[in-house]
């Protein structure tokens, strides 16, 4: 493994609802990859949903209660690693403004914000690692999620990580920056528009020769995967962590 | 004018102030441009003029380039004879019969009337008709000078004033502008600086148009095509002498 720093970094993981509830393998993969990269991983148990679904729906007061719980639980962590661009953005940019000027939570949220990193951002920028010893002998195309690309300018990091996966051929996705159409509750409030945007994204994916589409957000992936499965497409949709957690086992002798 | 409709100024401004939570008075922070003295603006203009003068030859090349990019036909000429030749060719090519020109100073030194009469074109000067032969709006070719030209954008600047009507460069389907090298400026900053100084020097603000090529429209299928209400063809002759 190249470019590993030789000290133990301690990081907490903020697991996110989608990983915890629906895609636990991404969670175990996250822990595994971080450990491989020399990180001592902790999982503060009292964490909960980041609150974004509520915030985006206009229910800031309810979102605030969830934010408070997370801010308090993560206050002592040195780094918080998040396997989701949108949840990371929520904690980085929105948490502080949920609280009034005189609320002590506001300054706690301010202190939390610089410690929050999306997964690929953490591995590449903080650990300085781009090769985690993974193998994935297939053609892959990468879909940049909006919150990660635009709000956090994290784009070369996931691509750099994918580039170093043994056997992986990374193909550029045409119109990659166009939103997939998920947008949270938008996907069920305006399913027609959401679907129309999704079909464009699927078309672009199918125009590559990739067997797998990769993203850093399970929300986008669920949406894209949902359509791929519905049309019985052979194309797989995987989280970046699932690719990076993939090691080739040695052939049996 | 007394208009019984509408909101009185003070009432309107009061409601704007209320929305902003402001009290009546100047802005909270000073706006540098609006706090300059006239002498500062004059000084800046002088500096600009020196810079422009040093770069004049480059600016002619640049103007040619940018003007062509926006659809002007551009030619640099060295004397009046060349101007006349160009006009003659233009008249022949398009079989033009009716020409209108402004009554700007440039036509005192670059005499084109004889050339036009020789070509048997009907000529009208500005909106007066020396020979009331045609409705100015039916002129096929409009010839103007240029108060300024902007190398950055490829534009001719026309200021409406005595002898130079707004419509002369608008109604004909072909517009020819004679641009003396002395009027060429470098950038948008320059033209606005010059205009600003004119305004403050007691001259009245006058209708000013930057003409950057022929008229266009992009209203159908987002495709830009040439030829809408203004001229379909524009020609710029850069007169490379002082």
């Amino acid at each position: 493994m190249s470019k590993t720093k030789n000290y133990k970094v301690k990081a907490s993981i903020f697991i996110t609802c989608l990983v915890d509830q629906l895609f636990p393998a991404v969670g175990t993969g996250l822990v595994s990859v971080l450990k491989k990269a020399g990180v001592e991983v902790t999982f503060p148990k009292n964490q909960t949903c980041c609150g974004q679904p509520l915030f985006n729906s206009g229910f800031r007061k309810d979102a605030k209660e969830l934010a408070k719980q997370n801010i308090e639980e993560l206050a002592n962590s040195e780094y918080i690693v998040v396997p989701s661009g949108s949840c990371a953005a929520m904690m980085k940019f929105v948490y502080k403004d949920l609280f009034g000027e005189n609320d002590k939570m506001r300054s706690m949220a301010s202190s939390l914000s610089p410690k929050v990193y999306e997964f690929s951002e953490f591995i590449v920028k903080i650990l300085g690692v781009t090769n985690v010893g993974a193998t994935y002998r297939e053609h892959v195309t990468y879909h940049p999620s909006c919150h990660l690309l635009r709000e956090q300018q994290v784009d070369m990091e996931p691509k750099a990580l994918l580039d170093e996966v043994c056997g992986l051929v990374l193909e550029k996705l045409e119109d990659e920056t166009v939103c997939c159409g998920f947008g949270g509750t938008f996907s069920v409030k305006y399913p027609g528009i959401s679907e129309a945007m999704l079909m464009d994204k699927i078309q672009r994916i199918e125009e590559t020769s990739a067997s797998t589409v990769v993203a850093c957000d399970l929300s986008c992936l669920m949406h894209i995967d949902g359509a791929l499965r519905r049309k019985k497409s052979p194309i797989k949709a995987k989280h970046l962590i699932e690719i990076l957690d993939n090691t080739e086992s040695l052939p049996d002798r | 004018m007394n208009n019984p409709f509408g909101t009185p100024k003070n009432q309107f401004l009061d409601s704007v102030r209320k929305a902003l939570g402001r009290t009546k008075g100047p802005p909270n922070e000073i706006y540098p441009l609006l706090n300059e003295t006239l002498s500062t603006i004059k000084k800046r203009k002088e500096e600009a003029e020196q810079r422009i003068s040093r770069k004049k030859d480059f600016l002619i090349t640049e103007l040619t380039r940018t003007a062509q990019l926006v659809g002007w036909n551009v030619k640099t000429v060295q004397n009046t004879a060349a101007v006349l030749t160009y006009i003659r060719e233009l008249l022949n090519k398009h079989k033009i019969n009716k020409v209108i020109r402004t009554d700007e100073k440039i036509f005192e030194t670059v005499e084109i009337d004889r050339e036009l009469m020789d070509s048997r074109a009907d000529l009208m000067v500005n909106t007066q008709s020396s020979v009331q032969k045609f409705d100015p709006d039916t002129a096929e070719l409009g010839i103007t000078g240029a108060d300024h030209a902007i190398a950055e954008t490829g534009s001719v600047v026309l200021v409406s004033q005595k002898g130079s009507a707004r419509l002369t460069s608008l109604t004909p389907s072909i517009h020819l502008a004679l641009v003396k090298r002395s009027v060429i400026l470098e950038s948008l900053e320059d033209i606005y600086l010059f205009t600003r100084l004119e305004y403050y020097s007691g001259k009245e603000g006058k209708y000013m148009t930057f003409i950057s090529g022929p008229s266009r429209t992009a209203d159908i299928e987002q495709v830009l095509v040439v030829g809408a209400h203004g001229p379909k063809e524009t020609h710029m002759l850069i007169l490379d002498w002082d």
Binding site: L54, S57, G181, G226 | P27, R166, I220
Partner: protein, 480 residues
């Protein structure tokens, strides 16, 4: 006021999505302005572009924060030049002012250059009612006037018409059949409108910028009709939103560099016209009477909210429309009023009624592409989120939410805080879904909560164990 159909967004957008022809056409043409804009930015360099954006934003911020001061300065300078300034708080006042001016001079024929504000106040119908013939001369506006439709796009009102459709309109309404190319159609419009451009007694324009320092109205145009409207008729009325102000004429260089590139990808438009009041005595032609009507019509509602205030920085370039993946699917008519697309989703509900327009702030995936392309860096997603919170939790005259929505938010929050309750809920859901899961997925279903998703997408099934459980078990194993 122009008809407000903002509450029709769900139906109108569904209709647009089902219009096969419109969808094919939008896919084909919507990218043109967007690519042109990108190219124009590349030509000057990203660095220069970013510098311009920042400068422009600072200028606009200062102006809007001190709008009353600059409006006063503008008033002074327009008046000094011999022009008249009127203030219209409502659309009705704007119409009445114009009616009064027309009556005063006995005007009967008005040529109009593009003005979105004139759409806002429903000017054309009003003019007809007071005996003034309104003639749209901007090609796109002219086309939609022929078929009595509303604008589809801020700068290209007839964008929803293919060239074939325009050809058909010209054949039917103008008795000019056989026009196939866009050049031909533009040429025909030129020919037909030339008479009217020269014989009208009133010219009505909007303005792209108002310069406080010199009392100037600035028009950024391509077609030349704006020049006609400000040159031939004896009376010129500029009908302008109060937010169009900038302090100094020297500030124009920043905006003239930004607007054409962001709007149509041009280095500069064919004409940049600067009006300094009515014609002076020494000028050969031009209007002898000039009126500037400064319009509020709901803009002060944007002004009074510090978060929404930056919507007034908008210079109406249309870049956000061109890049918005939602606008590119549903088109301008779905938004139900004069301003569509991302900026429309903000200003339309605030100016015409938040409750009636309650669907618009939610009709966005918050992707942020609009914010990225906006020459003034306006943070549209931030404002949409603010409007959503007003609708769900605002004061009684802002709030418009369903009981189920509030209940759902409450229930979600409670479950997320209470791990025990969440586990039970999850386990029940896990058991209930089991019979319906095939290969790990739930297919199309008519179960109420899941219906909208599964109509077009499979839904992953709930696995037996949560990550947190697995972690606990692993920790326990490690300690053994």
């Amino acid at each position: 006021m122009a008809e407000i159909n903002t509450d029709q967004f769900p139906q109108a957008s569904a209709k647009a999505l089902n219009n096969q022809q419109l969808q094919e056409y939008l896919t084909r043409s919507m990218g043109n302005f967007d690519s042109a804009r990108k190219q124009a930015i590349e030509d000057v360099s990203q660095e220069i572009w970013e510098g311009l954006r920042e400068k422009a934003r600072q200028i606009k911020k200062h102006t809007i924060e001190n709008l009353d001061y600059y409006l006063d300065l503008l008033y002074e300078n327009v008046t000094r030049s011999g022009g008249f300034v009127h203030f219209a708080t409502t659309d009705g006042q704007a119409r009445d002012i114009i009616g009064h001016i027309s009556k005063n001079r006995g005007l009967t024929k008005a040529i109009k250059s593009k003005s979105m504000v004139s759409e806002e106040v429903g000017l054309n119908k009003y003019l007809e009612s007071v005996g003034v013939e309104p003639i749209e001369t901007d090609l796109g506006e002219y086309i939609i006037q022929l078929v009595d439709e509303t604008p589809f796009h801020i700068i290209a009102p007839a964008l929803h018409k293919t060239r074939q459709q325009v050809g058909e309109i010209f054949a039917e309404k103008l008795n000019r059949p056989g026009l196939n190319t866009i050049e031909d159609m533009a040429g025909t419009a030129r020919e037909i409108l030339r008479d009217k451009l020269l014989s009208a007694d009133l010219g009505i324009t909007g303005a792209n910028f108002l310069v406080a320092e010199t009392g100037s109205v600035v028009l950024v145009t391509n077609e030349g009709n704006g020049r006609f409207c400000t040159s031939k008729p004896n009376v010129h009325i500029a009908l302008v939103g109060m937010e169009k102000l900038i302090p100094s004429i020297e500030d124009l260089s920043v905006f003239i560099r930004l607007l054409p590139k962001a709007a149509t990808g041009q280095r500069i438009t064919s004409y940049t016209t600067h009006v300094f009041g009515p014609k002076t005595l020494s000028e050969e032609d031009g209007p002898d009477e000039f009126h500037l009507i400064i319009v509020d019509n709901g803009r002060s509602k944007l002004l009074e909210d510090p978060v929404l205030r930056e919507a007034l920085y908008c210079i109406r370039c249309g870049a956000c429309l061109n890049t918005c993946p939602i606008y590119r699917k549903v088109g301008g008519h779905s938004y139900g009023w004069v301003y569509p697309g991302p900026i429309g989703a903000v200003v339309t509900p605030i100016m015409t009624g938040l409750k009636k327009g309650k669907d618009l702030p939610f009709a966005s995936s918050l992707c942020g592409a609009c914010r990225d392309v906006c020459p003034l860096k306006i943070d549209i997603p931030h404002m949409l989120l603010n409007m959503r919170s007003k609708l769900m939790e605002g004061t009684s005259d802002q709030r418009k939410r369903g009981v189920t929505e509030k209940l759902a938010s409450f229930a979600y929050k409670k479950l997320m805080i209470n791990v025990g309750a969440l586990s039970i809920f999850r386990y029940i859901a896990y058991l209930l879904q089991k019979p319906f899961i095939r290969n790990g997925y739930l297919g199309k279903t008519s179960i109420p909560i899941l219906k909208n998703w599964t109509n077009s997408r499979d839904l992953p099934g709930i696995p037996k164990k949560r990550f947190s459980q697995i972690w606990e078990e692993d920790q326990f194993k490690e300690q053994q």
